[in-house]
Amino acid sequence: MGNVVVDVMLKSEILDPQGQAVAGALPRLGFNQFTDVRQGKRFVLSVEGEVTDEVLAAAREAAETMLSNPVIEDVVSVRVESQA
């Protein structure tokens, strides 16, 4: 079984309310060194067998059409998960 990992982040110019909430809470635990937090999404797409170029291409298409909304988000990476 192979996995493709897709990472999606809100575009930098879009406000990230969730990230801001996390950033606001970190100092309460003594983490004062982080000036900003952005929160994204990770999808792990599994297939039977190996991740072929076709599988990777399909994952890229899925990432662009459904997993992200290009108006507000960027697909940061689409990659084969390395076997442990």
């Binding site: 879009i14 406000l15 309310p17 969730q18 909430a21 909304n69 108006v71």
Partner: protein
């Protein structure tokens, strides 16, 4: 005059939307997300709620429901479509309307009666209003912050496609308005609703269907959405 109201898994306001259609004098027709038919309706309402639990992004999964595969081309062909709240999110995800909705900037759910200004009274859903009318209808949402890039916003404003704007209370005046001095969800340029170029597709965050009947809701200000579309269908 048949107005379809689509029910997705997690739709909440489909019954109120149907009721509003009936109060306005139309015949509501229930449409199901899993059907690939619009049952010969003359217009469609995508109601509020949390379709598919807002999973992935609000409206993102509903946008790929079978009914949308027939609704999207019909809307592009001129069928009047109104998206309310979650319906607005679905229209944005479908790219029938530009921009996107993200979480309210203050990160809390809002539920309040909201004043709006009508900025375009020529669409299929707003023709019974006058330009500049101020209306009060309920607003209730978690992901209600309308965002788009600057060129899209400039284009919307330049073409008169901002249909409704939030009226912001004066922060310096004595007021108990929690959102005095700012709009209630952080929407760019106070945009509450927009239309496509043709004026047949309109989306807005607040809920006109909750303000159509005496004794329920803050006003009867929402009724004109539904009377407008009934007229536009007759005149089409």
């Amino acid at each position: 005059m048949k107005i379809g109201v689509v029910t997705f898994p997690g739709s909440l306001d489909d019954h109120d939307a149907s009721r509003a259609v009936r109060v306005a004098g139309g015949e509501p027709v229930s449409l199901w997300h899993g059907d690939d038919s619009l049952r010969d309706v003359d217009a469609v309402v995508l109601p509020g709620g949390f379709s598919y639990g807002d999973y992935l992004r609000a409206g993102a999964i509903a946008r790929f429901a079978p009914v949308m595969s027939v609704l999207i081309p019909a809307a592009q062909g001129g069928l009047p479509v109104l998206g309310i709240c979650n319906g607005f999110q679905i229209l944005c995800e479908s790219h029938l309307l530009p921009g996107a909705m993200i979480q309210n900037d203050h990160r809390t759910f809002i539920c309040r009666n909201q004043r709006l200004r009508v900025e375009n009274a020529t669409t299929a859903w707003t023709s019974d209003y006058q330009l500049g009318d101020e209306i009060t209808i309920p607003l209730k949402n978690q992901d209600g912050q309308y965002v788009a890039d600057r060129s899209t916003l400039d284009e919307l404003e330049g073409e008169g496609r901002v249909a409704f704007r939030y009226l912001v209370a004066d922060a310096s005046a004595h007021t108990y308005d929690r959102f005095a001095g700012r709009n209630p969800n952080g929407s760019y340029r106070d945009i509450a609703g927009i239309t496509n170029e043709r004026g047949n597709v309109v989306g807005l965050m607040p809920h006109p269907e909750h303000a159509v009947e005496e004794g329920y809701g803050p006003s009867l200000d929402g009724l004109k959405f539904f009377t407008s579309v009934l007229k536009s269908v007759v005149n089409a």
